[in-house]
Point group: C2
Chain length 450, copies 2
């Protein structure tokens, strides 16, 4: 792997030897240049950015974090802004306008061409996380009547400004999407072949609507191994595309959201270290309060059995072991169900298959856990009689079976009523399982021991 000698680069910065720094930077990958810039002090960063050759500065800019982008925009001249906007891809422009403060947005839009301004406003009007809001309009469009040779010439002339030339979209006179053609197919076909004869059409044509959720864009790209997904309007006119690098970002974003929801956090797109404390508190306190208050239920259950607990030695000590084991067992099932739903490995109609499988798994796991627990209590000489040991072990068995049933069913039920399964998963299930495990435990104890 290439190694970047930050000491050398920082040395030039310290010496203010910007011409040597420039020479050194030009040889680097644009991603690495952006990473280097991101680590500099604000003023130095802006100064170094401005000495970059114009042909790479837009790409470097697009890899910077939005905070640094804002700093640069607010410090460069209108002419420089014009040039930068001109070189940025439209989707990066839209990202920029979404992230920077309002006064900078005004400045950016003032320096954009009327066309670009109109386009940006259109993109901003699409719902958040929709295909329309993340697409770019810089795709290769080919009329279906062109020959391969004409198409390649067209791409040679116009392709340099496109975000990718590897997937080309075929349109008719009304700009309707009627097919796609891989650049490779252009290369491998005879130069007088017609685009319409070599394109994938009809039942092979894969696309999304501007209003479709970004998750659908990612699912389609994954399923069909696409490098770009075309976006059409309600009349099936081609309006944009989403490229694979953005699709990977979507996949990561959606996964992070699932992780956060399962951990009872409000989803956030902010980078952890740059998020202020009060925002972090805001993202966390809501669920913590809801769960704390709903845990009152477990308190009530214990309270109503308090007399029994005070009388029979050993019962209280086993409470966290039973609720903990139930919680862990349920968590396993709900995580598998949520992940399998997200990956499309199970569907709602499979609910009985899943339930039946989980019950068998639960009976096996519950039996093993119950037996081992009985042995554990004997070996450790836990407080309480043999009958208490038996009660705890039996309660553990039922808690595990119940937890796994709830764990697999609840995410599917959530999906059925259009709630995100991940929200239901961690937090809600664990509170429910806690209460039910306790109830099962105390009911068995009362039947056996009183």
């Amino acid at each position: 792997m290439h190694v970047i000698d930050y000491d050398v680069l920082n040395g030039y910065v310290d010496e203010k030897n910007f011409s040597m720094l420039r020479t050194e930077l030009i040889g680097l990958n644009k991603v690495d240049i952006a990473e280097f810039l991101g680590k500099l002090e604000r003023d130095i960063m802006i100064r170094v950015f401005r000495i970059l050759p114009k042909d790479i500065s837009a790409e470097v800019f697009s890899h910077l974090e939005s905070e640094d982008q804002g700093d640069i925009i607010s410090s460069i001249t209108d002419t420089e802004i014009k040039k930068l906007i001109d070189d940025l891809f439209l989707d990066d422009m839209v990202d920029l306008v979404e992230e920077v403060p309002a006064n900078l947005v005004t400045r950016i839009l003032r320096n954009a061409t009327p066309e670009t301004r109109k386009l940006i406003n259109t993109y901003l009007s699409y719902p958040e996380e929709s295909a329309g809001s993340i697409m770019t309009n810089e795709m290769v469009e080919l009329h279906d009547r062109l020959t391969v040779k004409e198409a390649i010439n067209h791409i040679r002339k116009t392709g340099i400004d496109k975000e990718t030339i590897y997937t080309c979209y075929c349109i008719d006179n009304g700009r309707h999407l009627i097919g796609t053609v891989d650049f490779a197919d252009l290369v491998f076909n005879k130069s007088d072949a017609l685009i319409r004869d070599i394109m994938d059409e009809d039942k092979q044509l894969v696309y999304v609507n501007t209003l479709d959720d970004q998750e659908k864009v990612a699912d389609i790209a994954k399923k069909y191994d696409l490098l770009a997904v075309p976006v059409v309007d309600n009349e099936k006119r081609l309006v944009g595309m989403v490229t694979i690098d953005d699709i990977i970002d979507i996949i990561e974003e959606e996964t992070t959201e699932d992780f956060e929801k399962m951990a009872a956090l409000l989803p956030s797109e902010d980078v952890y270290l740059k998020t202020p404390v009060h925002i972090l508190v805001k993202n966390r306190i809501g669920w913590l309060l809801i769960l704390m208050i709903s845990a009152t239920l477990t308190g009530f259950i214990i309270q109503s059995f308090e007399d029994m607990l005070a009388v029979i030695t050993g019962l209280t000590a086993a409470i966290p072991i039973i609720t903990g084991t139930g919680g862990n067992a349920g968590n396993q099932s709900s995580t598998l169900a949520i992940r399998s739903l997200a990956l499309g490995e199970i569907e709602l109609k499979d609910w009985f298959k899943v339930l039946f499988k989980e019950i068998r798994v639960a009976v096996a796991c519950g039996a093993i856990l119950g037996i081992v627990n009985f042995a554990r209590m004997q070996i450790m000489g836990s407080a309480g009689s043999m009958l208490v040991y038996l009660t705890v072990s039996l309660a553990m068995f039922f808690a595990v079976v119940m937890a796994k049933m709830i764990g697999c069913l609840l995410p599917m039920l959530a999906k059925l009523v259009k709630i995100d399964p991940a929200v239901i998963a961690g937090p809600v299930i664990s509170t429910l399982v806690d209460s039910l495990s306790l109830l099962v435990y105390f009911v068995i104890a009362r039947a056996f021991l009183i």
Copy 2:
């Protein structure tokens, strides 16, 4: 989006009208054909597969699940196997050989050319989840002395068998990787330009070693927005590449692994519905047993305070509320830490920044939770005196602060000692937080109430 009329297709299957079925299938996307095949009965599936035109059957085959692939291999003739192997990409071949039963592997290898056989054996000898084990050798290699025109002609002739032509790798006489060139750069450059003059080289060159973990391959592809990552041996000779579609699979696989580990499951690559019950039990029971037995610790803590609990009304009922809230608070922090580590948003050297931030968040959350809890107990008229309410609220505050500190530090500590943070996360932290919350609670209670 294209809609596939399964009723029509199934109608042809029922009528055994295979010629119409064939005509209908040819028009479809190969991914959809594979999906359709996957839903048929074994014998019908094999029969339909065999009527597919030879030029699409290999690609359809590569999209089938390994079980169906095995069924097909075991039912077709040696000649058909030879043809199929010939048309499959090498990485799909390696996947196949890894998944099907041993007797089929013998049959496949017997029908492969000696060269392919040797290659497969080499790939199988790389460690699991290494770059070497997932790469393909079907990449475009260009000598750096070629002109653009010669390069394009070379790709026209040989590219049809390559997995992608969009990223080309430049090599010297010793087959060392010395640069990469995008196909687009070939298109946009003059035909007499030399490859060596237009390639990205040196400090821009991004590659991995055969022994690098697949996670590194994915990280690099994401960071540099690559469509393919080249793989080299210890002498920096080009031996393979990993393409973006496989990289997306790696990202999903690694994420699923993290989900599973955090839910105290052994990671498994099997599809849920196709995994036998005893395997599911095996993947789950280990952690459940370990956690159940380590929860004994909480049992001990309760046991040693049992006299106090029996005497002071209201203390026992609050146990699950305090451990639950502590668990939820810790879970939030550990999930954020694990995900941020996985995405590279925080590094080990940031530990103090993270800790400091978490402490401030924890103090705010803990204070709010404590106060609301106090109000809750009063409003609900919970059992116990005002002093019990105060004890519970104070314990909740400290439990939250402690849980969040453990939650953010433990994943980083795990990473430091090269344990996967995700393994430590869910299960281990919750057991630890349970015990410590209880201890804090009882110590405060003893100080205040006895």
